[in-house]
Amino acid sequence: MSIALFKILIANYDIKLWYFLVISAILFCIGIFGVLTRRNLVQILMSIELILNAAMINFVAFSAYQKPESQLGTIFTIFIIIVAACEVGIGLAIILSIYRGKSTTDISKINILKW
């Protein structure tokens, strides 16, 4: 029932490419704002995840609307997902080792590289 309703909704509205681009731009700017303002390292990592997701939406949208049979966007997005998972793993390991040394995850208190 709900799937049929969803199909009718999808069939009646032509979803343009720039809707996805606008969503992606908004998500990207939210991520930029988070990276610039949050003070906790883990939350900065979450904001970076938002930025990567915006890039992924762009890849898939352009690929689906321009050359859907090549599946280039899907492959690129799989690679982005893998790189993002690596980045989160390494980042959280670095955060843990910083936390063991400094017992904080606040970036305004981590100033050991300052001279």
Partner: protein, 157 residues
Amino acid sequence: MVIFSKHIIHSALYLALALLCVATYFILLKAEYLAVVQIMVYIGAVVVMILFALMLTRTHVGEVTNISNKQVWIAGAISILLCWALVIIIYMARSGFTWISSDKIPVLSVKDLGSILFSKYVLPFEIISLLILGALIGSVVLAMKEKDDSKDKKEGK
């Protein structure tokens, strides 16, 4: 919500919600495989990993973390301006984007995706698997180093 919630655990759970919304966009773009991968990898692995890190760095869990007041206006102005400019540019250039209409996007089959991935893109695939192996070893080494030191100290005592 990911950015503005004051408790960091709430922020991580809102991150899971936002990633679920991105998965629905993938379904709208007829890329079901990507939606499933998004739900499994991001919500199943990344959010759980973030929650684990929050649990391990647990002084900040109950604490309310505010957005710092020094940079928030500049950052907000920059991001709102950037968002506005991007939306304006996309809206002005939208007539160039109409290649095909949305109901003509074919449903991408996983079989074709696998055959393309292992024929044309096999070298990037191997390189990315090397990268994820390196990241795995690197994160284990980074997270375990201090523990080994403490174990050595305990044995020394």
